[in-house]
């Protein structure tokens, strides 16, 4: 078990409020008067979640986008953000970050309400709290019912190819690099899907690992038909084990039809049992050694 998971397991007894959803969901829920808020806080650490050479404006975009992706996965409408920022020794980096932050906040019409700015001698750890308003029932990661089908929005794998470009290890179209550096949270699709699906999560760590987590949280097993997964590039196994795509993964009963303006593909199904099975053209295939980003 990864150290992050061990730590989260230690925290679970402290997070008994039902709104914490057992710390297994993308976000928490909080009833306020007659509204339901959806709350998330994600961090980006230099050298862990982004490359030190990534443009600071793109890091700012990503900080906003990864948090809004959590809101998208809960069908929520973003309403506000608070940021925790660690000032580094490079003032130009900080200035470029603010410019990118302004672009991201503007693109998503997200008001920045406050936060904290602190000096940090070494390294950077950036945090954003995003607050959204629920548009209806808030789907959890663990709401799948046996017999539900597994869907994914958009296409998977572009961010992986973009990361290779950013590392100077590959070449490819600009849109791959953009997919890595400026992911687009699926807010509109999430809001349309949220109240209508049984479970939803974003694909942040890799399609396989995120699908397995959804199944585990629901006490079920999941089977994915690899050839049905819409991918970018030609290496399906690499695509479904890479992270940072920020598409939406959701479970819905047979016969479910996504809203007409939502691009979503049926890629598998859930059944009693546990774990993840992968098939190609109907035959079971071996799971790759690494299902995604494991937080270890």
């Amino acid at each position: 078990m990864s150290r992050e998971q061990q730590f989260i397991d230690r925290l679970k007894p402290l997070a008994r409020d039902p709104g914490a959803r057992g710390l297994i969901d993308d976000a928490a829920v909080l009833a306020v008067g007659n509204e339901t808020l959806v709350l998330t806080h994600d961090m980006l650490v230099e050298g862990v979640h982004y490359l030190p050479a990534d443009p600071p404006a793109d890091v700012a975009w990503k900080l906003v986008a990864v948090n809004l992706s959590d809101l998208a996965a809960k069908g929520a409408v973003p309403v506000a953000a608070l940021m925790g920022y660690t000032l580094g020794p490079d003032a130009d980096w900080d200035a470029a970050f603010v410019a990118g932050l302004g672009a991201a906040l503007g693109a998503f019409a997200l008001p920045l309400l406050g936060g904290d700015t602190v000096t940090m001698p070494q390294g950077r750890a950036l945090g954003l709290t995003a607050i959204g308003r629920a548009t209806g029932p808030v789907p959890s990661r663990g709401g799948v019912q046996a017999g539900d089908q597994l869907w994914v929005t958009g296409r998977i794998g572009a961010a992986r190819l973009g990361l290779a470009i950013a590392k100077g290890m590959a070449e490819g179209p600009e849109e791959w690099l953009t997919a890595y550096r400026r992911p687009m949270p699926r807010l509109a699709w999430g809001q349309a899907l949220g109240p209508r699906v049984h479970a939803m999560a974003d694909v942040s760590d890799g399609l396989l690992i995120d699908a397995r987590r959804m199944a585990a949280a629901s006490g079920l097993g999941v089977t994915i038909a690899l050839e049905t997964v819409p991918i970018v590039g030609d290496d399906a196994l690499a695509a479904v084990t890479a992270g940072d795509d920020y598409e939406l993964l959701f479970a819905a009963p047979p016969g479910f039809a996504p809203p007409s303006d939502c691009i979503a593909t049926l890629i598998g199904g859930f059944a009693p049992g546990e774990g993840l099975r992968l098939t190609r053209d109907g035959a079971a295939i071996a799971l790759p050694a690494r299902l995604g980003y494991e937080h270890d």
Copy 2:
């Protein structure tokens, strides 16, 4: 101007929502349905906001307490928290932190709803978002009116003496060390005062600097009668320029009487003009070179 202040000034154009209060207040406000939420996010960085040798359980306490002190200064009732945690190489430290976090959450009946746990190769930057519910009008830092008087709750200076003990530079009663390591946010007093005062803030960086900020945010000058400030220890100037006390500083019109269960002392007043004046027994005295923790 400190680098932190420069960065905050860069952020201000991105925080135009009235709920951001121009990024000069302890916390932000957000109207949700028929409720008003108060939101804050404060970080603690190892070596900056706490000593590497401080017990991890106390660091956890402080992370909760400094955020709840911001809510106290706005008269808010805490309702939930999200934590951003950077895992370090020392698993025992992390485990002891969780134990202290549980104690703090329990002491303040604060539900932990979620957050993020990330690996950080070097250093620690811990963030907490605290969400509170307003009990009435939410006092800002900048609401002082000319002629208002300046009050402070409790006594000032114990945390400074406790820090000296923690550093092995002094000896003294256990309560001083506790004041430094386990500050108590003035939640009940804040809730009683909040709807009745013109302005309020907590004393986190030092009485003099926090009073000057309140005056500046209100477009006024402030005079403090040093001999009236209730201090711990015998060095008044050291006490009023040290931070970490987490008492409440507030402005109220002449004739204001604090609630009977609130220990508060009248220490000065506001007048047209700008800046901070310090008097002792009626005579102006020179300001110390350093008014408090300057974030630089």
